[in-house]
Amino acid sequence: MIYLRLFFEFFKVGLFSIGGGLATIPFLTDLGSRTDWFTSGDLANMIAVSEATPGPMGVNMATYVGFHLRGIPGGVVATLGLVTPSIIVILIIAGFLKKFRESRAVDAAFYGLRPASTALIAAALLEVCSIALLFHTTAGPEMAPGSHVPRTELFNWPAIALAAVVFLCLREKHLKKLHPIVFIAASAVAGAVFQF
């Protein structure tokens, strides 16, 4: 029963990803490696689309993965799976909001959870980088970066250069206030023009 499985897998993602939408990425790379639902190359594209469209990123990712697998019902089921744990947990907490907020045990647990969540995202970043910046044979046949070049080449230099430029722009005082969608659109144009 694929829909039940889809709901359950995204229920787990919703239950264990702490913080913003980026926190769902490590759970999705894990999900992709355990199932044949999507490749890491698909995931990199989904992250890009989710960042470039309105709405919370985690919700966008769930919708995309579900739709990718089973069309419209798949997208709906995955999204409902993702938000169900939030609804349950918040409805429980709403009853004793103040106590929860002031609990030292909750604070202590999150003192440990936050660096772990950052580390998980950093590990997922390594995987996305290896897909985007290196030449791979596993990156999915139709989307393999630079599939026209010999496999002996390891580094995708144009992509690395583009990533470096975007990163420097994101640290520049005036440019970093720009919305991420600006950088994503500019990179899409650069990729299309220079035939990445």
Binding site: G75, F110, G112, A119, L120, P145, F194, F196
Partner: protein, 197 residues
């Protein structure tokens, strides 16, 4: 207007107008809920965001559930949350369907290869920000390093068959790492006597 419909519609607007989620949506939530509708005060909103960060799930969804619950109980929470995710569902499905039809075009492949490089830079920049706020002392640095190494091993090493592989798969699973890090945080604070009132 029906209260549930009003909740659904208000949060649908918020969902359609925010990019990225999390703190990016705070200004729009403030304008819609505090200034225009008086559904929550500034203080309540900052509480909701703080709790949204230290509860499982997406912060935006948690905030929607809180506000909906305050207005109309559990069913209000559900109505607000469904409103928030509705525009995402529609927009993403349209884009995904579009991309499925055009994914084979060389120009689309090249564009996406460029976008993937950009995504690396965007995530790196976010990770650096998160690092500064979450890694605050030696114990949190240790947790960060251990989780990073184990998660990277889990990502790049295919577990060998048999018991060793099963153990490796277990200790590198993100769920296990998250739970262990929460317990580690409790232990560190308890050792420092920080759990007593």
């Amino acid at each position: 207007m029906n209260v549930y419909l009003d909740l659904f519609w208000t949060f649908a607007k918020i969902g359609a107008c925010t990019f990225g989620g999390g703190y990016a949506m705070l200004p729009i939530v403030q304008r819609e809920l505090v200034e225009k509708r008086n559904w929550a005060t500034e203080e309540e909103l900052s509480d909701y965001f703080a709790i949204g960060q230290c509860t499982p799930g997406i912060i935006a969804v948690n905030t929607a559930t809180f506000v909906g619950h305050k207005r109309k109980g559990a069913s209000g929470g559900v109505a607000a949350t469904l409103g928030l995710v509705f525009p995402c569902l529609v927009i993403i499905m349209v884009i995904a369907a579009f991309l499925q039809n055009f994914a084979q075009l060389p120009v689309v492949i090249h564009a996406f290869n460029g976008v993937r490089a950009c995504v690396c830079a965007l995530i790196l920049s976010s990770v650096l920000k998160l690092f500064r706020s979450s890694v605050v002392d030696k114990p949190t640095l240790a947790i960060f390093c251990v989780v990073l190494v184990l998660a990277a091993v889990g990502t790049f090493v295919t577990p060998p068959p048999g018991a060793a592989g099963a153990v490796l798969g277990f200790v590198t699973s993100p769920i296990v790492l998250v739970v262990a890090a929460g317990v580690a945080g409790l232990c560190v604070r308890a050792a420092k006597g920080g759990l007593k009132k």
